[in-house]
């Protein structure tokens, strides 16, 4: 009987060293590949050029951002399921590219554009923003994006453009959540033109310096940091300039609970729960909730937009 004995010479001493190191390199590459296989496919192929040059922004908060894992596993995105842990799974096979963006309504330049053409060569910034959900939790998220206003101006809105409406992709075969009518599809959102042009309002295409994950609204989403999260519409396929105020999906479904403005406001409660405090995700199991700030802490920049308005009525 043969008993296998551990050799007391290193395998590198028997094997040709070139082969040995070749094998080591192979193993290292295999490990990299295995890691890469768990990342979105487009990341592997090539990082989009517009993410190669990202500059920091003075608008960023100095608060500690949430982990990539928190941001990508706790999502409200009903197109991919109504549970917060569902979008990460149900959006896994969603391939946003190629993506078309339609610009319509009260502007001199309208039409359908390839998103890649719109993004190519555009200057990107990292904007680390607080995000406050209407459900009274919050995160700090390092978005990569650019000011919405900058894009809107390129289409030369006319004087009749008083509002901007946004529409999410409507395709139940790619967005399985749309097979159930929990909301009226497609998801819609709207802003007053001055809110849309505000420098804090951005279109995001990235997260943590990488491409935006599907569950966070790839390939293009809105981020309005002083409003409840549902205003920050995801997977945008159409932007329409309008003279009249558009409706928005949550308000359409429950007008008594969700308004058009949806500004973060600790003094105006949701009819069923308090908005005075919020749970910061990632703060730990024993961390108490923290005080919610007026306009989510962006009052200095945006309060003037609502001067003289009754914020209780215009919730």
């Amino acid at each position: 009987m043969l008993i296998k004995k551990t050799p007391d010479i290193l395998s590198s001493e028997i094997t040709d060293s070139r082969l040995y190191f070749g094998r080591r390199r192979f193993m290292r590459e295999a490990a990299t590949l295995a890691l890469a296989a768990s990342l979105p496919t487009r990341l592997l192929a090539d990082k989009p050029t517009w993410l190669n040059n990202i500059s920091p922004s003075d608008f960023s908060t100095s608060e500690q951002p949430n982990s990539y894992s928190d941001i990508t596993t706790y999502n409200n995105y009903y197109e991919f399921g109504t549970g917060k842990d569902q979008p990460q799974h149900q959006a896994r096979n969603f391939n946003p590219w190629p993506w078309q963006l339609k610009i319509s309504g009260e502007a001199e330049k309208t039409g359908t554009y390839n998103l890649e053409d719109i993004l190519a060569g555009r200057a990107m910034e990292e904007r680390i923003y607080r995000l406050r959900c209407v459900e009274a939790w919050s995160m700090v998220i390092p978005w990569v994006g650019f000011p919405l206003g900058e894009l809107l101006k390129e289409f030369l809105p006319t004087s009749r453009a008083k509002f901007v409406e946004f529409v999410t992709l409507n395709d139940p075969s790619r967005m399985p959540g749309q097979k159930t009518r929990v909301l009226q599809w497609p998801y819609r959102e709207g802003l007053r033109i001055d809110e849309a042009m505000h420098p804090l309002t951005i279109l995001a295409t990235g997260l943590y310096g990488e491409e935006l994950p599907n569950q966070n609204g790839a390939p293009l989403r809105l981020v309005i940091p002083w409003k409840y999260g549902f205003k920050s519409i995801k997977a945008i396929t159409e932007i329409r300039f309008r003279e009249t105020a558009p409706n928005n999906s949550w308000r359409q479904s429950q007008p008594g609970e969700y308004g058009f403005y949806a500004n973060v406001n600790p003094e105006v409660d949701h009819p069923r729960w308090s908005q005075a405090r919020e749970r910061r995700i990632g703060a730990g199991i024993f961390a108490p909730k923290q005080e919610t700030l007026m306009f989510n802490g962006y009052a200095d920049q945006v309060a003037s937009l609502y001067a003289g308005m009754d914020l209780k009525r215009n919730f």
Binding site: T73, W137, I285
Partner: protein
């Protein structure tokens, strides 16, 4: 052959009861492992919400399972099932207490002003709290001594489980933001369980008349 009456009792006491006990305790153990960060168990990005919701859900699940015992025993004629009813009910109460404790300590950090405001002004919290207040005397009077002492009144008192379970399902329905499918399934299940009792009461009353 070894399933003589005495041995069935033994089997029940030595094997089935501990088994049911262990099954009822499993959600708790799973949450505890997650809370202590044991490898392979996780409470997700929002652990407080996960604990709160899981305990609430298991309290409701066990409440409905408890309500299944009587219909199942009557329909199948398998009266041995009654032996597990008290344990199931007490576990429902255990999870309801965990749910309440998590709400008070972890969710609200014992901020009494906010808690009192919640209980008085948020109807869904008022409902949950009322339901818990109804379950409390049921748990307190679940001992053999109490059952004997209260006699007929014990049966009357324990009918509180019906309004309590209605309030709890309502509490669940009311706190959901938009997708009410899940609470609706619970409402349907509860309607079936209570409907069976109403139906039986009426047919029995008729047969007596």
């Amino acid at each position: 052959m070894w399933l003589k009456p005495v041995n069935t009792l033994l089997l029940r006491r030595r094997l089935i009861k501990p088994l049911v006990f262990a099954l009822c305790g499993m959600p708790f153990i799973q949450l505890a492992l997650g809370a202590f960060g044991v490898q392979g168990f996780s409470l997700g990005a929002n652990p407080v919400e996960m604990l709160l919701h899981s305990c609430g859900k298991w309290a409701l699940n066990l409440l409905l399972i408890t309500l299944c015992v009587t219909p199942l025993a009557h329909i199948s004629g398998w009266r041995a099932l009654f032996a597990y009813r008290r344990m199931l009910g007490l576990f429902a109460f255990f999870y309801a207490c965990m749910h309440l404790t998590i709400y008070l300590v972890l969710d609200q950090s014992m901020l009494w002003s906010a808690i009192i405001e919640d209980v008085l002004e948020r109807p869904y919290i008022t409902l949950g709290f009322s339901a818990w207040l109804m379950l409390l005397p049921l748990a307190l009077t679940s001992t053999k001594g109490m059952i004997r002492r209260l006699g007929q009144r014990w049966t009357q008192l324990h009918r509180l489980i019906y309004p309590a379970s209605i309030l709890v399902t309502w509490h669940f329905y009311w706190q959901v933001k938009q997708d009410v499918r899940e609470p609706l399934y619970y409402i349907a299940a509860l309607a079936l369980l209570l409907g069976w009792r109403l139906y039986r009461q009426r047919t029995r009353a008729r047969s007596r008349a």
